[in-house]
Amino acid sequence: MSEISVLLQDRKLAYRPGETVRGTAYWTLGGQPESVEVRLFWRTEGKGSTDTEIAASRTFQNPARTDRRDFELVLPAGPYSYAGKLIAILWSVEVIAEPGSEAEHQDIVVSPSGEPVRPAPLPETPK
């Protein structure tokens, strides 16, 4: 049985835009991997169709069946993590091994404040 994990440096889970995400990927796979890659990506979640984009990635050279590799990935300027009721923007660091697309991910927050941006409350309607 395969095991993949991703551990971020200092267990840091909140980042500012443009900051570097550092961590270590660990894996023990059922067979020799063709490739192992770490990806920094965001995805939307909510009512409508979902969207996703890989902001940065790194492919590990000559990965062994059991291995660990350090990585550094630089965050772009945006989008910020967002927690609305109709839509959310979620950031993750994912390690994915092929063949089989076995993967594990760690969710992170990307914003200037370290918290997901929330929609401003609507002004009260005058009665």
Binding site: E45, G46, K47, G48, S49, T50, A83, G84, K85, L86, I87, A88, L90
Partner: protein
């Protein structure tokens, strides 16, 4: 806490990514019958049904089945020796459709989805039932429709059997954005254990 407090999109039990995890549920046949009919039709057929009846989901599931049986499967494209799956035949113009059929002659199979019959021999007509909707609601939220103060029949009928839009109504309820069509449910009071 009232339902009007609502949950964030990432925690909404009816969020899109969770709905996409649902697999097609047959009403009165099954995989054996479907695959036998596909063979009998020379591996060419159409999945026909109204919106929200599971055509795309069934097409994806069929692709997975065919792959597991050792066939090569291509979504949208055509390749000699592979089974082509096309979601939404209506999106092609008549000319594009004729060209597509010509190109697909060398394919090992061709299955399309459409809202109406006529593109290829009908492989299956997809439909839903209030029971299927109720099962989807349970799978998403851990509650049956009654947990949202609506019967499966009422919700199913209100959406004309469209599971997708019915689940979107429940999304709005969980988000605290009650749609006009569910005001009846709102009046009856919707228990809320999804609010964060």
């Amino acid at each position: 806490m009232s339902a009007a407090c609502g949950v964030d999109a990432a925690a909404n039990p009816f969020r899109a990514s969770r709905i996409l995890e649902f697999r097609y549920r047959f009403v009165d046949s099954g995989w054996d019958a479907l695959l036998s009919k596909l063979e009998a039709l020379g591996m060419r057929g159409a999945i026909v049904g109204p919106e929200g009846s599971g055509k795309t989901t069934l097409l994806e599931d069929l692709g997975e089945r065919l792959r597991r049986s050792g066939r090569r499967v291509i979504f949208g494209g055509v390749e000699a020796g592979a089974v082509t799956l096309l979601d939404g035949a209506e999106r092609l113009t008549r000319r594009q459709w004729r060209r597509f059929l010509r190109e697909a002659r060398e394919a090992a199979g061709l299955v399309v989805t459409a809202h109406r019959p006529g593109y290829l021999p009908t492989l299956i007509e997809t439909r839903t039932t209030p029971g299927i909707l109720d099962a989807a609601v349970l799978a998403a939220s851990g509650r049956r429709c009654e947990g949202f103060a609506v019967t499966p029949e009422e919700l199913w009928t209100r959406h004309g059997g469209n599971i997708r839009t019915a689940l979107r109504e429940l999304y709005d309820i969980c988000a605290g954005r009650v749609s006009p069509s569910s005001r009846g449910a709102q009046r009856r009071g919707i228990p809320d254990s999804f609010a964060t």
